[in-house]
C-alpha cells in the first residue's frame, strides 16, 4: 500500500520556487503592454472627419461576406456577383474615371466579426464605398455600423420587414420588394383566374425564417380576403429535416393550394414527403427553394418540378439592361449559370455605381439623397426606395415548365404566356 502512494510527488518539488520569478513575469508583462499600446497607436483622425479622397487612386469598395460558416453558400455567390461587376466596370473605364477595387473580408457568418470587419473597413482602411453582406442576421448589425459612420449601405439581401423599421437613412435594399410584398405577384395571378378556377382551400407550411415566413403570412391574409379557406398552417424550425409529419398532416386536409415558405432543403423535403404519400396539390407554390435551379430539380426530380410556382428577384432570361452581359460574364468566369444571389449582389453594386456616377463624387450624403430621389435601372429591373431603404418594386412570378424556368408574371416581363395549371401529378 505504501509503495503506491509517494510516487505522486516527484515533479512537484518546487511549488514554492516560483515566487521570485513572478517579478520577471511582471516586468515582461509591462513591457509587452507598453509595446502593445505603442504598436496600436497611430496618429488618427476622428471617424467623423472624411479625408479628401485621392482622385488618382482606385475607388475602394469594402465588403464583408460570409465566405465560410452557415451562410457560405450565398456569401460565395455574392462574391462572384461583386467580382463580375468589378471586372465589367473596370473594363469600361471604372467609376468617375477611377478603377474599382473591391476589398472583401470573410466574416465567417459571425456577427461579431461582421461588425469588426465593417468597422475596420470604414475607420481603418477608409474605403470609399460600402456594399452589403448576405443574410439579415449579418446585415442587421452591419448596417448599424454603416449608419453610425454615415456610410451608404446597399445590401443585396436582408429583406426582413424589420430591417426598414429602424429608420436608417443610409440603408438601401437592392431587391425589388421586401418579404411581405414578394407574394403579391402570385396573389395577382390567382386574382386573374376565373372565380371557379381559383383554389378553394390552402395549406401554408413555412420555415421559421425572416424571409420565408412573412411571404407566406402576407399571402395567406390576401388569399383569405379572396375567400380561399385556410385549412393548415404551420411554422417549422430551420433545422427540420423530416417532413413526413408535415406532409401527412397536409395530405389529410387535401388542400387545393400548398404555399410553402421554403428556404431550400425544406422545399425539397416537403415535395418528397408529399410524393411518399402520393398527394399532389393542384397548385404548389414555394418561396425560394425552386429558384436554386439545378439543385432543386436534382432534389425532387426534373419531372416533378413541372408546374411549381415561386417568386424571384431576377431571371436569367430577363431583357433588363446589362443582364445578358452579366449572364455571359458570369458563365464565362465560373462555367456555371449564375445564381439569384450573385445577380442580387451585382444589382446592389449597380445601384451604388449609378448613384456615384450621377453625384460625381463619393460623398456619402449626396449619394444617399440621390438614391432616395431617383430610380436605378439594374439587371433586376428598375429599383427605387422609400425613406428607410425599403424598395418599391415587385418580384417576378416564375414557374417550372418542362424542366426549365419561365417567368409568368407580371405580364409585361413574362417570358411565356403559358401557365401550367393545374399542376400534373407526381411522376
Amino acid at each position: 500500500m505504501t509503495a503506491s502512494i509517494p510516487g505522486e510527488s516527484e515533479t512537484r518539488a518546487g511549488s514554492s520556487h516560483e515566487v521570485p520569478r513572478r517579478r520577471g513575469r511582471a516586468r515582461g508583462a509591462v513591457t509587452l503592454a507598453v509595446v502593445a499600446v505603442l504598436a496600436l497607436t497611430a496618429c488618427g483622425q476622428r471617424p467623423s472627419e472624411t479625408a479628401a479622397s485621392d482622385v488618382d487612386k482606385p475607388i475602394v469598395v469594402g465588403v464583408s461576406l460570409p465566405l465560410t460558416g452557415d451562410f457560405a453558400q450565398p456569401g460565395g455567390e455574392a462574391k462572384r456577383g461583386y467580382e463580375v461587376w468589378r471586372d465589367m466596370v473596370n473594363a469600361r473605364g471604372g467609376i468617375l474615371g477611377r478603377q474599382v477595387e473591391i476589398k472583401i473580408t470573410d466574416d465567417a457568418s459571425n456577427q461579431d466579426t461582421v461588425v469588426a470587419d465593417y468597422t475596420k473597413l470604414i475607420t481603418q482602411d477608409k474605403v470609399d464605398l460600402l456594399l452589403g453582406t448576405f443574410s439579415s442576421l449579418l446585415n442587421y448589425p452591419a448596417s448599424a455600423v454603416a449608419e453610425k459612420n454615415g456610410m451608404v449601405f446597399v445590401e443585396p439581401a436582408g429583406g426582413a420587414p424589420k430591417m426598414f423599421e429602424r429608420n436608417f437613412k443610409y440603408l438601401f435594399f437592392a431587391q425589388p420588394a421586401t418579404a411581405p410584398h414578394q407574394a403579391d405577384v402570385f396573389v395577382d395571378w390567382i386574382k386573374s383566374l376565373p372565380e371557379a378556377d381559383r383554389p378553394k382551400t390552402a395549406a401554408y407550411p413555412s420555415q421559421d425564417d425572416p424571409f420565408a415566413q412573412p411571404v407566406i403570412e402576407s399571402m395567406r391574409k390576401q388569399l383569405e380576403a379572396l375567400g380561399v379557406e385556410t385549412v393548415y398552417t404551420s411554422l417549422y424550425p430551420a433545422d427540420t429535416t423530416n417532413f413526413q409529419t408535415v406532409a401527412s398532416s397536409i395530405a389529410g386536409k387535401k388542400p387545393d393550394l400548398i404555399a410553402q415558405g421554403a428556404v431550400f432543403e425544406d422545399g425539397v423535403g416537403l415535395v418528397r414527403g408529399l410524393k411518399q404519400l402520393n398527394y399532389s396539390p393542384k397548385i404548389l407554390f414555394q418561396t425560394s427553394a425552386p429558384s436554386n435551379a439545378g439543385q432543386y430539380s436534382d432534389g425532387v426530380g426534373v419531372a416533378n418540378t413541372e408546374g411549381v410556382f415561386y417568386t424571384v428577384s431576377w431571371n436569367e432570361k430577363a431583357s433588363t439592361p446589362l443582364n445578358p452581359d452579366f449572364v455571359a460574364a458570369y458563365t464565362k468566369a465560373y462555367s456555371a449559370a449564375p445564381a439569384e444571389d450573385a445577380a442580387d449582389a451585382f444589382a446592389a453594386a449597380q445601384v451604388l455605381q449609378a448613384a456615384t456616377e450621377k453625384v460625381g463624387s463619393i460623398d456619402q450624403d449626396k449619394i444617399r439623397d440621390w438614391l432616395h430621389a431617383n430610380t436605378v435601372d439594374t439587371i433586376l429591373g428598375p429599383l427605387s426606395w422609400g425613406a428607410t431603404g425599403e424598395p418599391k418594386g415587385r418580384f417576378l412570378l416564375a414557374q417550372w415548365q418542362s424542366g426549365k424556368v419561365e417567368v409568368v408574371g407580371p405580364a409585361d416581363v413574362a417570358t411565356t404566356k403559358t401557365v401550367v395549371n393545374p399542376k400534373p401529378a407526381w411522376k
Binding site: 457560405a72 424550425p237 433545422d239 409529419t245 408535415v246 418528397r272 404519400l277
Partner: protein, 292 residues
C-alpha cells in the same frame, strides 16, 4: 385516429433508427466512461461517405454500410489508439473536450472537402411507401428501421455470445474484476470504441437517406443521441432502446398534434423531467457511484 396510428408508427420507426445511433454512444460510455461527443460527427461523416459512394456507383445507401461499417470500425480503432488512449486516466471532462474538438475537426474537414450544403442520398425507392389501409409506411423508414434492428441484433449477439463481447460487458460492469480474469483493459476499450464507431456505419447510411445533412448537422444529432442516452441511463443498452423509442414517439406526436417548432424542445423537456425525477435515467442502476 388514422393520424394517431400513423404518428405512432412513424415514431417507432424513427425510434428504432435513433436506438441504433445511440447504441454506440452508450456502449462506449459504458465501457470507458467516455462521452464521445464526436459520435454525431461520425454519423455525418458516414452519411457523407455513403452519399459519395451512392453518387459514384449508384450502390444502395443501406447496402453501402457493408463498406462503411468496417471502415468505421478501423477508424474507431485508430482514433482510440491515437487520441483517446492518450488521455485515459485524466479526468472524464478531458475526453469530452477532446472528442468535442474532434467533432469540430470532422465538421471543418467536411466543410472544406465537401462544401457547406445539404445533401441526401436518394435511392430509387426513397419516395415510395408501403400502404396498409390509410397508413403509409415510407420505404426508407421501414428499411432503415429493419437495418437498425438487424444491427442491434448482431450487437446483442456479439455482446452476449462471444468472448470478446463478454469481455466488453465484464469491463463495463466491473473493470478491476475483468482485469483479474485476464481481460486487458486497453484492448477491450479499443475494441469497444471500434465497435461503437462501427455502429455509425449503418446509422450514418440510414441518416443519409432519411435526413438531409450538412457538415454542421452533427450538433443536432449528438444532442439528440445524448438526450436518448441520458434518458435511458448512461451506459445501458436497453436504456438506449427504450429512450430512443420514447423520444421518437414524443417527437412525432408533438409534430403532429402540437407544433413542429416545439417538437425538438420536447426532447430537452423530457430529459430535464427525467433528470429531476430519476437522475440516473430509466435504466441507470448500472451507473452506481462508487464508494465515497
Amino acid at each position: 385516429m388514422t393520424q394517431l396510428v400513423q404518428a405512432i408508427i412513424l415514431g417507432l420507426l424513427i425510434g428504432g433508427v435513433y436506438a441504433l445511433m445511440a447504441s454506440g454512444l452508450t456502449l462506449i460510455f459504458g465501457v470507458m466512461q467516455i462521452i464521445n461527443i464526436a459520435q454525431g460527427a461520425f454519423l455525418v461523416l458516414v452519411a457523407m461517405l455513403t452519399w459519395w459512394l451512392w453518387q459514384r456507383t449508384g450502390i444502395d445507401p443501406i447496402v453501402a454500410s457493408l463498406v462503411t461499417t468496417p471502415l468505421m470500425f478501423g477508424f474507431g480503432w485508430v482514433v482510440y489508439r491515437l487520441l483517446i488512449s492518450r488521455i485515459r486516466g485524466s479526468s472524464a471532462s478531458m475526453s469530452v473536450l477532446l472528442t468535442f474538438g474532434f467533432a469540430l475537426v470532422i465538421e471543418g474537414v467536411l466543410n472544406v472537402v465537401a462544401g457547406n450544403r445539404f445533401r441526401s442520398a436518394a435511392p430509387s425507392y426513397f419516395e415510395e411507401s408501403y400502404r396498409v389501409g390509410d397508413i403509409s409506411l415510407p420505404k426508407t423508414q421501414v428499411f432503415g428501421f429493419l437495418a437498425a434492428v438487424v444491427v442491434l441484433g448482431v450487437l446483442y449477439f456479439v455482446l452476449t455470445r462471444t468472448w470478446t463481447g463478454r469481455a466488453i460487458r465484464a469491463a463495463t460492469q466491473n473493470p478491476s474484476g475483468a482485469a483479474l480474469v485476464g481481460v486487458a483493459a486497453t484492448g477491450t476499450a479499443a475494441l469497444a470504441f471500434a465497435i461503437g464507431s462501427a455502429t455509425t456505419g449503418v446509422g450514418g447510411s440510414i441518416l443519409s437517406v432519411l435526413y438531409p445533412f450538412f457538415p454542421a448537422s452533427h450538433y443536432d444529432w449528438i444532442s439528440r443521441l445524448l438526450g436518448i442516452v441520458v434518458l435511458g441511463g448512461m451506459g445501458s443498452l436497453p436504456g438506449a432502446l427504450v429512450g430512443a423509442g420514447i423520444l421518437g414517439l414524443a417527437e412525432t406526436l408533438t409534430a403532429t398534434y402540437g407544433s413542429l417548432g416545439w417538437s425538438t424542445l420536447v426532447f430537452y423537456v423530457v430529459i430535464m423531467v427525467v433528470l429531476l425525477i430519476r437522475p440516473q435515467g430509466l435504466f441507470g442502476a448500472k451507473l452506481r457511484e462508487d464508494a465515497v
